[in-house]
Each structure stands twice: as C-alpha cells, then as structure tokens.
Amino acid sequence: MSDFKVTIRDHSENIQVLDLKGYLDAHTAPVLEDAFGKLLNEKKYRIIVNCKELTYISSAGLGVFMAYIEDVRANKGDIKLSDMTPKVFNIFDLLGFPMLYDIVSSEKDAATKFAEMK
C-alpha cells in the first residue's frame, strides 16, 4: 500500500545522510532499521536523517530512532533530523522528540552541530 525508500549517502568524510522518502510505518520500518544497522556495522555514528520527502511517520516509525539512539550516542555520535515538513514535525513534536533529538532545518545546520560536538 505504502512506498518507503531509504538511500544512504555521504555528507562528508565522517557524516552520513539517510534520505527518507514516503511513508514510514510498521510495515516499512524494517527498511529504515536495515539502513541504521548497516551504518552502525560500519561504525558510522554521525548520522543526519533528511526528512524532506518523508510524508508520514507512525509510532512504529518513531520507535526505530529510539532503538538506535543509545548505541549511536554511546559511540560519541548522534542522529540529527533535518528538513522536516510541518506535518511530520508535528508528529515528532507531539511525542516530545524535539527534547530528545536535534531537529534542524537543513543538513548544513546539522553538519555544523556535528562540528561543534568536537
């Protein structure tokens, strides 16, 4: 019923970007899990999730971020979310995600924040 796609791309040497596209729910969540799993396997812990083309995220989709954030932060990395549409932001906001994650307006801002972390 719903299409969801994740593409992994390098932002810079040590920052990776996940481009989310479409509809993220319980059925499509494993796709995102696989992508996170792959990055963590490669010991890449600085991740920007670009939500520009993410049209919807369900509770199961939100759960995916919770599954990996501990590991990522334990390895001195972070998951930063960027380019959210207002609708998707509202879903993140309801649950209080802005208190847990850096939600920024652009990849550039995210990269800057990563740079500040050093």
């Binding site: 019923m1 319980a26 919807y56 369900s58 509770s59 199961a60 939100l62 759960g63 995916v64 919770m66 599954a67 501990e70 609708k87 879903i91 309801l94 649950l95 209080g96 208190m99 847990l100």
Partner: protein
C-alpha cells in the same frame, strides 16, 4: 421365501411320486395315446419346471465367482456321470422293447429310472443356470435375446416329442434340434469373462473348462449307448427330459470346449492384463487415499508401500522437500535403510540436480554401468533405478525413488505407473499441507477472537454518572486487537481520573502493552493524584520494562466533579481539545511519551496545567487514529476537521458529540480509506 421354497419342493415331490405311481401301475399295460399317458408326461414336465424355479431361487441366494461357477459345472458333470455309470452296473432286468415302446420288467427298474432321471434333471437345470450366468457376463443388447432363443429351441425340441412314445424322432424335433445346435455355437462365443480373470484364476478356468468339456463329451457318448437299461430308463421316464439333457450336454461340451481353447490363448497376455488391472486399482486406491488421509507421514508411508507393491520394486523411498527450507527431509522408505539411502544419494548427487532442474523422471537402466551412478557402492537391490519428481504447480515438493534388483528392470509400464503415482501423491501431499495450514489459520483466528474479547473487557464497562458532568468514551481497534486505551477511575468521592493512551505499533504486540498500562493506571492513579506525578511514576514503571522501540503516549486528567477543576498532564499524547465560551483550542502541555527516557529527563520536561470548567464546556480526548485517519485520496482528517465537528455540535450531549465525531471520521475515510486504532473520550460540564 422359506414357505415358497417349501411349497415348491413339496409339490415337486408330489409330482415325482405321481409319475412314479402311474409308471408302476401301468407297468405292463399298453396305453398308447391314452389320457393317462398325457397326464403322466404333463406331471413329469411340471415337476421339471418346478425344479427349475427351486434351483434358481437356491442359486440366486448364493452368488458365486466365475471360477467357482465353472468348478461347480465340472463337479455336477462328474456327479451325473458317476451316478449314470454306477447305476449302469447294477444288473437289472431292464426293459422290453415292443413296437418302439419300452416296458419295464420290474418295479426296481422303474424306481431307479425315476431316481436317475431326477438326478439328470437337477444336473441339466444347474448346468443351464451356470451357463446362463457365464453367457450373460458383460452382456450386450443381443445377449439376452440369443440365449432366450436358444432355450426356446431346446425346449421346443424337447416338447415336440411330448406326445410321442419313447424312442421316436419326429421331423419337428430334428428341425428344432438343428436350430438349437446353431444357436449353441453362436452363444458359445460369449466368453467375455475370461479376459477379466486374474492370471491365477485363468489356470483354474482352463482346468475346469477342460474337465467340464470332457465330462459333457462323456455324457453325450454314454447317452447314445443303448445297451443296458440305463439310457432306456431315461427314455422311458421322459423322452423330453432325455432330449433336454442331451442338448444341454451339447451346449456344455461346445461352450467349455471353446472356453478352454480361449483361456489357453489368453494365458500369455494374462500377466500384462493383471498389471493393467493392478495399475488401475492402485491409482484408484491412491485417489481414495487423497480424500481420506490428511496426515503427511501416513500419506507418504502408504504411497511408498503402494509403489513398492505395484511395480514389484526391490526398494522404494520418498523424499519430501520441506516447505520452509531447502533441506530435504526423508519421510518414508521401504526395504532400504537410511544409511543405504544416504550412501546412494551422496554418491550420485548429479542425478538429483538433473531431476531438480528438468522436473522430469530419470531412468538409470544399469546402476553399475551408468556413469552418473557408477560411484555408488555395489548394492544388489539397486541394480536399476528410477527417480521421479513430485511436482505441484511446477514446484518440486518431493522426489520418489524406486529400484529393482536386476538391470534393465523397469519397463515402460512401470514408468507409466510411477508417473501416474507421482502426480497423485503430489496432489495428496499438497492437500495435506493446505489442510494443515488452514487448520492452523483457523486456530489462530479463534485465538485472536478470544484476545479481542479479553481486550474489550479491559476497557471500562460502565462509566460513573455525575450530576455535574457527562462523560462518554469509545474505542475501536483497526485490527482484531489494538493498542488504544482509555480508562476512568474514581480517586475519591468527588475526583475522577481519566486516562486516554496509545501504545506504539498495532495488533497483538500493542495489545500486550495496553494491558500493562491498564495495570499501572489502576494501581498508581490512586496513589499519585497529581497528573504530573502519576505520569512520572508510570514512566518509571514502563521505562526499561518494555522494548526499546516501543513507547506509550498517555493523557491523564483529574476532574473535580464538584468544583469543575480539571488538572492534566500530557505524556507525548495528542493535545486535548477544549471548547468553552471564551476559549476554543487544543491545549498541549509539554511532556514526553512514556517509556522513551529515564525518570530524570522525563520529570524535568513534563508540565501540568489546570482549567476550570463552566456549564457547556467540552473537553475531547482522543488518539491519533482520529486525526491521522485518511480518505481514499490520501488526505488526513487532521485537527481542523475535529475542531469543527466539536464546535458545530457543542450544544449537543457528550454522547451525541462522540457519535458525531465517529460518523464524520467514518464518512471521511469511506471504505477504501485507512484508519488506525481509534479512541474518543468526551466530557461535558453541565452544572
């Protein structure tokens, strides 16, 4: 039936006695053409007719197989022959012949003649009935007619001499006799039963046929020997009977002569015919099996056994490919051990891959010589081998192996039987699997229905009633069970706690956590009366105990039903919709979802708010199933539509407002739309 039989036998005996008495009384009297002579003949004829019906009843009560029937013919022929010869050696005065008429010289001759004649009649009737059955086997349209004509001519020939004294051959009689003989020949081609006999029985048929043939021939010869009194005795007793016995004996001799020769010619093909029969019956058996056996193990065992028997194999085994993984599982074997199979399979892996790829059977005529199997250690019982794939919808579901203990042991027939078998077994296995699957599915469905019932009971069955406030709630899962939750608990005399929550995800997983939330709510709400405090404690209970990627959003409000003060906190849940005269908006105090973070972070972010409810004020709590439900075009229901529905119906009761919201959501999503678990809880201050 018994009475009828008794009556028949009784009247027959009376007639026999009458005939005997007349014979005895008229021993030396010339009564040519007189009334008494005709009466005697009619009585004799009557007794034979009754005899015929009696034997027919007796015979129809005991139906026998073809071979038994021929056997009985041989026995009866022998019996009559024996009786005839035995009586011939009794030295009696016999008959005096005057003017072609016979006059018995003493009473004992009359008596023995009568006895022998009765035996002859019984013999003739039995033989007639057995022959009738044989001729009528696999009858055609003309069969019955031809046989009836034959019997009619035989009877006509016999009866045409009814009024004539002994020993005279009338022209009419000769005419009918010739016709009868012609029809005897015609009827003797009715030998259809031979073909259908199993091989073993054909030998018996041959033996009995020749014995019967010789018996009838002997009877015909002795019937024409005029010396001694015996033949004259029959003639004296009843000339028609004599003619009848003679004609039936001719029929018997011709029929069994033909039968013997025909059986002889059938013998070489008997084995092949047997095989075809077995093939048909075993396929038939297997067909029955499919409808009866749903246990896979039992099914393959029977299939292996049937294969083993039907093609006379030295060993048979059947591998069924497991559905879930590619590993082959040995299911059944006959006359071969698992180790031996392992040896064969491991030394001839190319065979299997050829069959797997081609999906056709593979025949190895000589296992030691064929280069694909030459590495298999020599095994006598595996001298030739056939490998047949079991296919279902072009998918391989098993492999059937059969071996014989001689090279070039498999004939075309075997291959055909095995192919037919493989098809049937495939269907049977597929059926068994489908049935197992559907039973399992049905069981799960029942379990889910049970879970649904249980979950319904976790929601409040009755809401408390107040003079000051109306409250109504509804919850509907998207699947059988869901993660939505609402509950109401009385905290003290005036204050009521209201919780509306949503577990992440859907279905059974969510339902379990929902039950856990219910437990937490029921126990903690009475201890921590501040909504903020309650949520902090609830988060503490949930964090770490639930899966990392799961969380619960919960809105908790405490309403003082006397003062109208509503205190509330939001744990990551949808904002509350508040409609009053002055204020119409979503109220969204800060707060994280439950189970996401530890107590420190959670308690530092959560806020508590307070409002005062006035008459006509409405609060709507709901889950995201309402705002995120979508129309068939993919548009979301959203916050504005919810807001409008409540605002437009603010004068209605809490129950009506709840119904209006549901109706609007249903109408919006229509059939093709989508909705999540959906919960609505409405309170309206009416004091």
């Amino acid at each position: 039936m018994k009475l009828r039989k008794l009556l028949l036998i009784l009247s027959m005996a009376v007639l026999f006695v009458v005939v005997f008495l007349i014979n005895a009384a008229t021993k030396n009297i010339e009564f040519d053409g007189s009334l008494i002579f005709t009466i005697r003949n009619l009585c004799a004829l009557g007794s034979f007719i009754i005899l015929y019906f009696t034997i027919q009843i007796y015979k129809s009560e005991r139906r026998k197989g073809i071979i038994r029937q021929i056997g009985y013919v041989a026995v009866w022929t022998g019996l009559f022959l024996g009786a005839y010869l035995l009586t011939s050696f009794i030295p009696l005065k016999g008959f005096e012949s005057r003017n072609f008429k016979l006059y018995p010289r003493d009473y004992i001759t009359i008596f023995l003649s009568s006895l022998l004649s009765i035996v002859a009649a019984v013999f003739a009737v039995f033989v007639t009935l057995y022959l009738k059955d044989l001729v009528h086997y696999k009858r055609k349209k003309t069969t019955k007619r031809n046989f009836l004509f034959l019997m009619a001519f035989i009877l006509a020939a016999s009866c045409s001499s009814l009024s004539a004294p002994q020993g005279e051959n009338s022209v009419l009689e000769r005419f009918f006799t010739i016709l009868a003989v012609l029809l005897i020949i015609a009827n003797s081609f009715r030998l259809a039963w031979i073909a259908y006999l199993p091989r073993r029985e054909k030998f018996y048929a041959l033996l009995y046929s020749f014995l019967s043939f010789l018996g009838f021939l002997a009877i015909l010869i002795i019937l024409s020997v005029e010396t001694g009194w015996t033949q004259k005795g029959l003639l004296y007793y009843s000339y028609p009977l004599y003619t009848f016995v003679r004609l039936i004996s001719i029929f018997g001799a011709v029929y069994f002569g033909m039968a013997g020769i025909s059986t002889l010619f059938h013998l070489p093909t008997a084995a092949a015919f047997d095989r075809k029969q077995t093939e048909i019956s075993s396929l038939h058996n297997l067909g029955k099996l499919i409808n009866q056996v749903f246990d896979l193990k039992e099914l393959v065992d029977t299939a292996t056994t049937l294969t083993f028997e039907d093609i006379e194999a030295a060993s048979v085994w059947l591998e069924v490919v497991a559905v879930d993984d590619e590993r082959n599982r040995l299911v059944s074997s006959k006359n071969i051990s698992e180790e031996e199979i392992e040896t064969i399979v491991s030394h001839s892996s190319s065979i299997r891959s050829v069959v797997l790829q081609s999906k056709k059977f593979l025949l190895i005529d000589s296992v030691p010589e064929d280069k694909r199997t030459t590495y298999i250690p020599k095994m006598k019982k595996v001298s030739s081998l056939i490998v047949v794939p079991l296919l279902s919808h072009e998918k391989l579901i098993g492999i059937l192996y059969a071996s014989k203990d001689i090279e070039y042991g498999f004939e075309q027939d075997d291959v055909e039987i095995l192919s037919g078998f493989a098809d049937q077994v495939s269907i049977a296995i597929e059926n068994a699997r489908l049935i197992k699957k559907s039973i399992e599915k049905e069981r799960l469905q029942r379990e889910l229905m049970l879970a649904q019932e249980m979950q319904k009971r976790l929601l409040p069955q009755n809401l408390p009633h107040f003079k000051t406030v109306e409250m109504k709630g509804v919850s509907s899962p998207a699947l059988e069970v869901g993660g939505d939750y609402y509950d109401v608990v009385m905290l003290d005399k005036h204050r009521v706690g209201i919780a509306v929550g949503d577990v992440s995800g859907k279905g059974v997983g969510a339902a379990f956590y929902m039950a856990e939330v219910k437990g937490i709510f029921q126990s903690l709400s009475k201890i921590y009366s501040s909504p903020k405090e309650f949520l902090i404690k609830a988060n503490e209970a949930l964090y770490g105990s639930i899966d990392k990627r799961s969380f619960i959003s919960l809105f908790y409000a405490v309403l003082d039903t006397v003062s109208g003060t509503l205190t509330f906190s939001r744990g990551g849940h949808c904002p509350m919709l508040f409609i009053s005269k002055e204020r119409q908006e979503y109220i969204k105090p800060l707060g994280l979802g439950l189970g996401l973070v530890g107590t420190e972070k959670f308690s530092s972010t959560i806020k508590e708010e307070k409002i005062s409810m006035q008459s006509g004020d409405i609060c709507v709590f709901y889950t995201d199933g309402v705002t995120e439900s979508r129309s068939s075009e993919g548009e979301e229901f959203g916050y504005e539509r919810l807001f409008d529905v409540v605002l437009n119906n603010k004068r209605k009761s809490a129950d009506e407002i709840k119904e209006e919201i549901i109706q609007t959501v249903w109408n919006f999503t229509d059939e093709k739309g989508y909705h999540d678990d959906l919960t609505i809880f409405v309170i309206k201050w009416i004091a």
